[in-house]
């Protein structure tokens, strides 16, 4: 096949660019645009992947990487633009179409049945038949051995999946895709679940694959890893490709700056309301992946962490300590999935963790979630549909949710229907929740109005601490501004706020102090007034260790 893709049409923002080579083009995306109601997820994407390359795609969460990969894998259809595979224009309606075009995807979360063997998992869904009915296990076994040997994957087809390690499971996922004839592999955050030595093994395997002519599209936001393994890098920011760079000539810091953008929003000039009264104190919070085992009280977190590391476990939270004063907003920046959710759940008492949590100087480490809420912690959860609302319950019942001890909602054992309804009406009026009434189901409201109801609910009862996880995610601009105003007002009134967000506008605009979390550790802290995008980007992506 003759390569047809015109190169060099990229929007160049960085000075570094790839040279146009004469090698074959495996995948080419031209002007891909995808709109969802109210948002443009991808805008004018240009991407050229050379055959036999490891091509990394980097970008922040929400930059549009996932949508782009879903388009390439046939899970979504672009509104505009053209996809060419090996030079031929293609239209994918289902992942099946993508697979027949030779594109396979390895998802971040493994999709394997633990109680089946590797062989059974691999052939599941594309079983080789013998004589029309019987399964031809022998042929499958031979084919799997061949693939495993050819690419150096070292997979035993008859091992039970539950008996093999995480790295091997990932290789099974890769094998599964190769078995179906894929020559182009999309790996979505493949290192997120691996410990360091497994990452190195994976990279060896990837090099083995490209040597045999396989093309790999590698999605990640761990810049050091990307620089180590990739032959070419495309940076995506705010839904569009902003640069294509050669890993030879770029540092992690430069890459981080490309990802975050060269300009940060400037924090609003305002009076600091931070007092010297401590509201929340967290010391040595540590949480391991997998099952939790209690550790004796008073054991330092470091001891626990060492033990976990020796056993090869992954830490979701590693010795996190922080202090929030009354009237202070502490922002937690970080690429998603680096321990933010675990931090929140540990402070809320929803997930057990080692370490100490104090509210207003009182240790609440052993308290139940309800008692913590009772003591004055408000909680705006990250996923309002799963954690924040009863979708199929009227608004006034949602007012009671999480506040089952407040005077307005209950009288002893009894639900105070009248009081709860009156207070729901107050929230609806005060927080401008647009609804025809308080008897409609929460599912009937738009996202912004649902969120305003939650904010209003969590602000009532005079909380001492508010945990706000992505408080304006998925809400319209009007509701966003309103929610920010409410947070500022409450902060001025002496509320302590723990703000977790992926939106830098929000973090810098609201926070008095910023901490950056990476792989479960607080790796840096900044004053939002003086922080540079380079600093923030480096810290968030773990690129800042050398400086």
């Amino acid at each position: 096949m003759i390569p047809t893709g015109p190169l060099g049409t990229l929007t160049q923002e960085a000075s570094i660019s790839t040279e146009t080579t004469v090698s074959e083009v495996a995948v080419q995306l031209e002007g891909i645009t995808k709109r969802f109601p109210g948002v443009v997820a991808n805008r004018d994407i240009h991407l050229t992947v050379q055959k036999g390359h490891i091509h990394a795609i980097v970008g922040e969460n929400g930059a549009g990487k996932s949508t782009l990969m879903k388009i390439l894998y046939g899970m979504q259809r672009p509104d505009e633009g053209e996809i060419r595979v090996n030079g031929t224009p293609v239209t994918f309606h289902t992942p099946g179409d993508a697979i027949s075009a030779g594109i396979g995807m390895v998802h971040q979360h493994f999709m394997l049945a633990d109680n089946l063997t590797v062989l059974e998992n691999v052939i599941l869904g594309s079983e080789p038949k013998k004589g029309g009915l019987a399964l031809d296990f022998a042929a499958a076994r031979t084919k799997i051995r061949q693939i495993s040997d050819a690419y150096g994957l070292g997979i035993d087809p008859d091992a039970l999946v539950e008996d093999i390690g995480v790295g091997a499971r990932q290789r099974v996922e890769i094998l599964k895709v190769l078995y179906r004839g894929a020559r182009i592999l999309i790996l979505d955050e493949p290192t997120a679940v691996l410990v360091p030595h497994e990452v190195d093994e994976l990279f060896d395997n990837l090099h083995g694959l490209v040597r045999e002519g396989i093309t790999i599209i590698f999605i990640s936001h761990h810049l050091d890893e990307v620089l180590k393994v990739a032959d070419a890098i495309t940076v995506i920011r705010r839904g569009t490709t902003v640069a294509e760079v050669n890993p030879e000539g770029v540092t992690a810091r430069q890459l981080a700056e490309l990802m975050v953008g060269s300009e940060l929003p400037s924090p609003e000039t305002r009076e600091s309301t931070v007092t010297d009264v401590v509201a929340l104190e967290v010391e040595g919070l540590t949480m391991a992946a997998g099952t939790w085992r209690p550790i004796p009280k008073g054991t330092p977190a470091s001891f626990y962490m060492d033990r976990m590391r020796q056993e090869g476990g992954r830490l979701l939270l590693a010795d996190v300590s922080l202090t929030i004063h009354k009237g202070e907003v502490l922002g937690i920046a970080g690429v998603e999935g680096n321990g933010q959710a675990e931090l929140v759940e540990a402070i809320m008492g929803m997930r057990p963790a080692a370490g100490v949590v104090r509210l207003d100087g009182v240790e609440i480490t052993d308290w139940t979630t309800l008692r913590r809420r009772d003591a004055g912690i408000g909680y705006i959860p990250e996923d309002r549909h799963r954690h924040g609302l009863l979708l199929e319950a009227p608004l006034w019942e949602n007012r009671i949710l999480g506040h089952m001890t407040e005077k307005v909602n209950v009288r002893g054992w009894w639900i105070n229907r009248k009081g709860a309804r009156a207070d729901t009406q107050r929230i609806v009026d005060q927080y401008d929740v647009r609804t025809p009434g308080i008897d409609v189901f929460a599912s009937a409201l738009s996202g912004g109005n649902q969120q305003k109801l939650i904010v209003g609910r969590e602000m009532s009862g005079e909380p001492k601490l508010l945990i706000a996880a992505h408080p304006t995610r998925g809400v319209d601009v009007g509701a966003q501004a309103a929610i920010w105003d409410h947070l500022r007002t409450a902060r001025a009134a002496g509320l302590a706020v723990l703000l977790i967000s992926a939106d830098l506008d929000e973090l810098i605009g609201l926070s008095d102090w910023l901490k950056v979390i990476h792989r479960g550790e607080i790796v840096a802290e900044f004053d939002p007034a003086t922080v540079t995008p380079e600093q923030l980007g480096s810290a968030m992506t773990g690129a800042g260790e050398e400086a």
Binding site: P37, G38, V39, M348, M350, T368, T369, L370, R371, R372, R373, D374, Y379, P381, R386, H387, G388, L389, L390, L391, E392, A393, E397, I400, L401, G402, H403, M404, V410, W413, W414, I415, R417, R434, T435, P436, V440, F441, S443, A444, L445, S446, G447, G448, N449, G474, V475, D476, V477, G478, A479
Partner: protein, 379 residues
């Protein structure tokens, strides 16, 4: 608000009210159609069969029987429904009520107390045994994560074996046959029947009033108390309940205890109103009937009451079919089809009303306050 036919057709107005009534009626109608087909396929007169059933089922004697059947069915379905409201599948109501009935009958036969206390003691014992037996499944789920479906099914089997053993230990022969049972309960422990239906010498179980009280209690507990709120919240979204500070494990144990306690009542109307002894022909399988009726009544005390009466009617009127050389199993087919079609109808009605509500809200908002900014579309 005036609405056109297309508005209703396209779900622009709230139809929850009549949809929730129409769904079961349509399902019953559908079941009747299926039964008709089965009847005609087997060469039986369709219309005559239904007329005969209704005729027989509306006689005073039959009405009493229907009420008596419905009383037990109602209690059984409420016990199941309480678990269902929390997404707990207490399949073990059957074992719980049989074991409870046996122990309560044995205790009732062994003691003699003044009239009001004797039946109260028996009922309390039954509730305690039912609760304890269900509590095993609750504790297993809360502490070890054992699925309550599995554990209650296994507990049913164990209850059957344990019941047979205990009955053999405690049994005395019952006069006038080769049946055995527990020592009959003295007259002070009986709950007299009431003559509710004129024109029949048969009496309705006195404990029908207990069933009504349990129904009211069920409604109050679930809708008016904090416990009920926690229970329903857990049923609607366990994750939201956890985030809101509901102790879900404790709720599991409590819900199983209450469900089991209610299951303990199932055998009481029969035991204290008619049988006075737990014998080999103590009715079994009521727990499973309860599951069907709970589904039919949408886990709602009023709906379950209608479901229990319908079930009672079908069971009683099937007795006449034998005389007309029609297999009474035709009624079993009808009951099965009713449950299946009701479940499907409810699901469809539910999805429909959720969409209808969303449309109604956005329509009312757009009509009431036209906002200049584009709102709602983005979120």
């Amino acid at each position: 608000m005036t609405s056109s036919f297309t508005d209703r057709l396209l779900g622009r107005v709230k139809l929850t009210g009549w949809v929730s009534l129409a769904a079961p009626l349509l399902a019953i109608l559908f079941a009747a159609v299926v039964t008709s087909i089965v009847l005609s396929l087997t060469g039986n007169p369709v219309l005559d069969t239904f007329v005969t059933m209704v005729d027989y089922g509306s006689q005073p004697r039959s009405l009493v029987l229907i009420l008596n059947y419905a009383t037990t069915y109602y209690l059984s379905a409420l016990a199941v429904a309480l678990g269902f409201r929390m997404n707990l599948f207490n399949i073990g109501v059957d074992g719980q009520y049989r074991l409870a009935g046996l122990v309560a009958a044995a205790v009732g036969g062994a003691v003699t107390l003044p009239a009001p206390f004797h039946p109260i003691l028996i009922i309390l014992v039954a509730m305690l045994v039912g609760a304890a037996w269900a509590g095993i499944a609750g504790i297993l789920k809360a502490t070890r994560g054992v699925s309550e479906v599995i554990s209650t099914i296994m507990l049913n089997t164990i209850a059957t074996g344990l019941g047979a053993y205990l009955l053999a230990e405690w049994a005395v022969p019952i006069a006038g046959g080769n049946n055995i049972g527990t020592t009959p309960i003295a007259a002070s422990g009986h709950v007299p029947g009431v003559a509710l239906v004129p024109g029949s010498s048969l009496k309705v179980f006195g404990l029908i009033f207990l069933a009504v009280a349990v129904g009211i209690g069920f409604h109050v507990l679930l809708n008016k108390t904090r416990f009920g709120f926690d229970l329903r919240a857990t049923g609607r979204s366990e994750q939201a309940a956890v985030a809101s500070g509901v102790n879900v494990k404790r709720m599991v144990v409590y819900a199983m205890l209450i469900s089991g306690g209610m299951a303990g009542l199932i055998g009481m109307p029969q035991l204290l109103g008619e049988a006075y002894s737990y014998s080999l022909n103590f009715q079994a399988g009521l727990g499973f009937t309860g599951i069907a009726i709970a589904l039919l009544g949408r886990n709602n005390p009023v709906g379950i009451a209608f479901g229990a009466l319908l079930w009672g009617f079908l069971d009683v009127s099937s007795n006449i079919l034998d005389l007309h050389k029609i297999s009474p199993e035709i009624v079993t087919i009808m009951q099965g089809v009713i449950v299946l079609s009701v479940v499907i109808a409810y699901e469809l009605a539910h999805r429909y009303s959720v969409v209808a509500e969303q449309k109604r809200v956005s329509r009312e908002l757009a009509g009431a306050a036209p906002t200049p900014e584009k709102e709602g579309a983005a979120a």
